[in-house]
């Protein structure tokens, strides 16, 4: 119970910090968010290092994927929380990977399915070799209907940037 209260307080505190103004990324920038966002920390973009992304409330999804064996744990912030933090408004998210792969994710997906930006896989921080630094993960095991090609293509890995529009 006390742990929960502390976590909540921290969350509120951290959100409060971001609400008042987004701090600069101190470490290596692993994600750049641009487009229709209100809070920025660079020129019209919001840049995040790993610590910043980890400071956002983390969610874990236990799911099967076509690229892994068995049930896997994926942990990271919900994309919806990340966008709230930036007061982002839009209908679509254009996600770009390190290798130039691009995909458009409808905002509806993010709102409906609690899609996360996975930073850890089975407790290990995702490196580029392990399809990091971040990986868009849908809770497939919880949503039977979304096990189709459409959603698999949206599950972009080695994510570099998001553009909200």
């Amino acid at each position: 119970m006390i742990k929960a209260i502390i976590l909540l307080t921290l969350t509120i505190f951290s959100l409060g910090i971001y609400a008042s103004g987004l701090p600069k990324a101190e470490g290596e920038v692993i994600l750049t968010v641009s487009g229709n966002i209100t809070h920025t920390n660079s020129e019209q973009t919001a840049e995040f290092d790993l610590a910043m992304l980890q400071s956002i409330p983390q969610s874990t999804i236990k799911t099967e994927t076509p690229w892994t064996e068995g049930i896997n744990d994926f942990t990271g912030p919900k994309i919806q929380d990340l966008l709230k933090l930036l007061a982002a408004e839009g209908e679509f998210i254009e996600a770009t990977a390190l290798n130039g792969y691009k995909v458009t994710i409808p905002m509806q997906d993010v709102k409906q399915h609690s899609v996360i930006l996975a930073l850890q896989h089975n407790g290990e921080v995702l490196s580029v070799r392990r399809r990091g630094p971040s990986w868009v993960i849908y809770p497939w095991s919880d949503m039977q209907l979304s096990r189709n090609h459409k959603y698999y293509t949206r599950s972009i890995w080695q994510l570099k940037s998001l553009n909200i529009f």
């Binding site: 076509p66 690229w67 390190l98 290798n99």
Partner: protein
């Protein structure tokens, strides 16, 4: 046949499962191939290898950039590209791709090799620096090999996919072929089966037909045999029945019947024979000789007969038997007289039938005795009695035949009827013929009527009755009969017939009941109507029964309410009432009339009055409809007859006079409507000359108010009676409205003219005024150098000039010009007020304050003060306390108040009113959202003509020079045009004058909007 069908069934049973299994196999194969394709679509191996190739090349490219020292290539980038390359083959992240890879040739081998290459590359990449050729070359070598392997694998993957597709296509083709074969087999099989069934059906039909024919033939034979047997049995049965019937008939017969055989022995005798010979029963056994019977009879007979007579009796019988066709009258033992008829048949047997003629004999004797009595008796019921012989000649005539025919009884004796007629007494043609015919047929006749012409030319009807007479041997011996004079009775009967024919020809229902209330007559009309379908009504039935039958008929025909009217009609029966109308159904009415007769009977006459009732109802409805229309009119409508008396009087007339139609009806027109006195002549003209006339906008006073009406008088002719209709329309409002419109139009046109003129006058007036001012200045100002110089030049001083001008009154004239000019300027200024253009500013104002201020100004008005002491006027104020402010132009409203006050004060002053007073009322009408200001004086008021023109420009009643005639018209324009209000005047001459100003609370919307627009722009 059945074997063939079984074979076909067996073949079909074999083929169908084989085909089904083939189809299912094809389908499952297609399914599995589709699954593979689906999985491939979700996680394409080709796509994977393509991406892997792209990423490997990307890494190699960046490694080469770094090696070549290009600026944009950093070690970190190379590391990232390597990591991306690495991530493709990470064992944990391969998932299903691993399985896919292992499904193609050299897939697993490639994967192991690549991981080996990656582990070799890892330290090399860490070591790679610009220009480090060794390291780069190693990397390049490893990568080249890897890419070659990757390329080979990609080719394999594509081949694998193509193979799957080719497999799928061939499977689909097979499936298609199998389907075609299956369908064709089914189709052919079906056709064969149908053909077989048809063939079999036809065979069965033909066999069936043969069977049917055989069965029919056999049935027919059986039926014929059966029928002949039945017929035979029937004949035998009938024959037995007939014999039994004959025996039973003979037994029941009163005649004596017995049969003898050829040897004259008994073979049959009936019950009557047995009964009558009960004394000699022993001798009449079957087979016993007839002679023995005869002897036994004679032995049993009484002793009145001698033995010879007995012997004679027996011989007579035996003789009769021998002759066999004689008839014998023989007295039997019982004393009864019989006549026997004997008939010997061909086989020698004898049938004998004996009839009892005892009664006949007695009757013959009695007849002879009664004949003489009959004559006397016949004469009692007839006028005369007659007898004829066999030749139909009169043998005897008695009674008053002479009184009827004028011929004495002896005249007839020895003559036939035809011979007995004379010229004075002969029958009408046809009468005699029938009588003779009946007589020649020896028939009796009764009440046979012959019309004859009697003595003195009198038409006589004679009724004859007669019957033939026979002697003891039964031979015709003539006629006896009686005659009666029935002339009067015939006449009455004919009259009755005519009456009945007349009643039958009427379209009325006529029924007559006797004193027992039984139906004794109904006419044809009644019979045809009520007895149309069922003859329910019959003579002799009681009234109640007849009425019930009628009710049932009416209920069926017209939907008559039987329950209600049955009792009602019964109550009326024999209690006649007038106008008893029976509603049979919709629009059907029967009027029933009952009349009690002297003999206790009753005659009932029913008349169908449906048509007349319908017409009556229609007239009533039409009358109501017209009355409603007339009553709904706002016009007063009065109908009068030739004597000008009221016949029609609508609702508007009732309201106008407070007299109802009943009160006004047939009263004199002028008496009930006095104001039509003047139109009486026109009404009379309309009645007499049929001349229509109108009197438009006629003035009349109603409760002290002036009203106008249009009177129209129409001649009226109905059913030869003359009269007139007078229509009065109240047109007061129209007249007032039209006057108001005329006034308004006039004001607008004059106002516009005045404003136009004012502009035109203003310019020359300004020039004139200025010139006059300059003239005065040049003539009087001594300090102007130009004046002094001009005077010096002509050699005179300014004082001289002034003196001259003063003496000649020129300066006064110039002053007069300036004063007149100023007056003109004031007039022009007022005239400009007619212009609708308005630059003044409106604002929220308290009307009470404005009126008070105007009052204050009036009391200091110079002219007014001179002529009239305003302070002596009593002022009464009635201001509504919560009066809202009104949006108006204060200066103009004040001007209006001043004008009205000035006019009022002057009028009161001129009329020398003893205690002059003004009454001011200010109130606010919420409903119309306007302020209403009354300014009333107790001055002389004004006459109608003045009142009508009071707002016209230049109209004045004041003395010349005291008024411009513009004050009130300017006021009118200020209120109506500038403020969208109303200015009204009400005056009673010699009593008071009241001006009423109505101002909308929000002022003139049009002006406000215009102003708003101008401020916005």
């Amino acid at each position: 046949m059945f074997k063939r069908i079984t074979l076909i069934y067996l073949t079909a049973a074999l083929i169908i499962p084989i085909l089904s299994i083939t189809l299912v196999t094809d389908l499952s194969k297609i399914r599995s191939l589709q699954d593979i394709q689906k999985a491939d679509a979700q996680l394409s191996l080709v796509w994977f290898l393509n991406q892997a190739d792209r990423e490997a090349r990307n890494f190699l490219q960046h490694a080469s950039y770094l090696y070549m020292g290009q600026k944009e290539a950093s070690k970190q980038q190379v590391m990232i590209k390597f990591d991306i390359f690495w991530s493709r083959y990470d064992a944990q992240l391969m998932g299903r791709i691993t399985r896919k890879l292992s499904s193609i040739d050299s897939g697993v081998q490639f994967l192991e090799q690549t991981r080996h290459v990656l582990s070799q590359l890892d330290p090399l990449v860490q070591k790679l620096t610009p220009a480090n050729s060794d390291t780069y070359n190693s990397i390049n070598l490893l990568m080249t090999e890897h890419l070659q392997d990757l390329y080979a694998l990609s080719i394999n993957a594509i081949h694998h996919r193509s193979a799957i597709r080719a497999d799928q296509h061939s499977t689909i083709d097979q499936l298609y072929f199998h389907l075609q074969v299956t369908l064709l087999s089914l189709f052919i099989g079906g056709l064969v089966l149908i053909a077989l069934f048809l063939k079999k059906g036809r065979e069965l039909t033909s066999q069936n037909l043969i069977f049917e024919r055989r069965v029919k033939a056999r049935t027919k034979e059986l039926s014929q045999s059966n029928q002949s047997l039945l017929f035979e049995a029937e004949v035998r049965k009938k024959s037995e029945q007939r014999s039994q019937q004959l025996i039973s008939a003979f037994d029941q017969s009163k005649e004596l019947v017995f049969f003898l055989d050829a040897k004259n022995c008994f073979i049959f005798f009936n019950e009557s024979f047995k009964q009558i010979n009960s004394a000699v029963l022993d001798s009449i056994a079957l087979g016993a000789p007839f002679e023995i019977y005869l002897k036994a009879v004679m032995e049993e007979s009484d002793n009145t007969l001698t033995s010879t007579e007995k012997q004679q009796w027996i011989e007579n019988w035996l003789l009769g038997l021998r002759n066999s066709d004689d008839s014998h009258e023989i007295q039997q033992l019982t004393g009864q007289q019989f006549i026997f008829n004997m008939n010997r048949l061909e086989d020698g047997s004898v049938i004998t039938i004996g009839s009892d003629i005892s009664t006949l004999k007695q009757t013959q004797q009695a007849l002879a005795m009664s004949e003489s009595r009959f004559r006397d008796f016949a004469l009692i019921g007839a006028d005369w009695y007659w007898e004829m012989d066999a030749e139909l000649k009169f043998t005897f005539v008695a009674g008053s035949v002479e009184k009827t025919s004028g011929l004495p009884p002896e005249h007839y004796i020895g003559k036939t009827r035809a011979q007995a007629y004379t010229d004075d007494f002969r029958p009408h043609p046809g009468s005699e013929q029938s009588e003779l015919e009946q007589m020649s047929n020896r028939e009796a006749f009764n009440d046979y009527q012959i019309k004859t012409q009697g003595a003195g030319g009198r038409q006589v009807t004679v009724s004859l009755s007669g019957e033939p007479r026979y002697d003891q041997q039964g031979d015709f011996s003539g006629y006896i009969g009686a005659g009666r004079d029935v002339t009067e009775r015939t006449l009455v009967e004919e009259l009755d017939k005519r009456l009945i024919a007349a009643i039958n020809s009427l379209s009325l229902f006529v029924t007559i009941f006797d004193d027992q209330d039984k139906l004794i007559f109904f006419n044809r009309q009644f019979g045809e109507a009520i007895n149309k379908d069922n003859p329910n009504i019959v003579l002799g039935m009681r009234f109640e029964d007849m009425w019930l039958a009628c009710c049932e008929y009416y209920a069926q025909e017209y939907g008559f309410d039987t329950q209600h009217w049955y009792d009602k009609r019964l109550a009326m029966h024999r209690n006649p009432v007038d106008d008893f109308v029976l509603p049979l159904g919709e629009h059907r009415y029967l009027k029933i009339f009952e009349q009690l007769l002297d003999d206790g009977g009753v005659i009932i006459i029913a008349t169908d009055i449906s048509e007349s009732t319908k017409a009556g109802q229609e007239i009533h409805r039409l009358r109501n409809y017209l009355a409603n229309i007339i009553d709904s009119m706002s016009s007063i409508l009065i109908g009068v007859d030739q004597q000008c008396r009221i016949t029609q009087w609508n609702f508007a007339a009732q309201q106008e006079t407070s007299l109802s139609l009943d009160s006004a009806y047939q009263r004199d027109l002028v008496e009930v409507f006095p104001r039509l006195q003047a139109q009486l002549a026109s009404v009379v003209a309309a009645i007499n000359n049929r001349q229509e006339s109108s009197h438009l906008k006629r003035l009349y006073l109603k409760a002290g108010e002036v009203c106008y009406e249009d009177i129209t008088i129409y001649p009226l002719i109905t059913s030869g009676e003359s009269g007139a209709v007078i229509r009065l329309d109240n047109v007061t409002e129209q007249v007032l409205l039209s006057e108001m419109m005329i006034q308004s139009e006039k004001m607008l046109s004059v106002g516009g003219l005045a404003a136009g003129m004012a502009h035109e006058i203003n310019n020359p007036l300004a020039g004139m005024m200025q010139t006059a001012d300059v003239m005065l200045n040049r003539l009087t100002a001594e300090n102007i150098p130009a004046n002094l110089q001009a005077a010096t030049e002509v050699g005179i001083s300014m004082q001289d000039v002034q003196q001259y001008m003063q003496n000649r009154g020129i300066l006064r004239m110039i002053s007069s010009i300036i004063e007149s000019g100023n007056r003109v300027a004031v007039i022009v200024d007022n005239m400009l007020n007619f212009s609708r253009q308005n630059d003044a500013q409106s604002s929220q104002q308290s009307l009470a304050k404005l009126l008070d201020k105007a009052l204050e100004l009036s009391s200091t008005d110079y002219n007014l003060k001179n002529n009239f002491d305003f302070k002596s006027i009593k002022i009464l104020k009635h201001y509504q306390p919560d009066m809202p402010d009104i949006f108006c132009e204060p200066g103009k409203i004040q001007q209006v108040f001043l004008n009205i006050l000035r006019n009022g004060a002057q009028a009161m002053q001129e009329a020398n009113v003893s205690s002059p007073a003004f009454i001011f009322r200010i109130r606010y009408d919420v409903q119309s959202d306007e302020a209403i200001i009354d300014i009333e004086d107790n001055g002389p008021g004004m006459e109608e003509g003045v009142k009508r023109r009071i707002f016209e420009p230049f109209f004045t009643t004041k003395k010349e020079g005291t008024g411009t005639g513009l004050g009130l018209s300017v006021s009118y324009f200020i209120i109506t045009e500038n403020h969208a209000g109303r200015l009204l005047v009400d005056s009673v001459e010699g009593n008071h004058c009241k001006f009423t100003i109505c101002l909308p609370r929000m002022g003139n919307r049009e002006n406000i909007e215009k102003r708003f627009v101008s401020t916005v722009h």
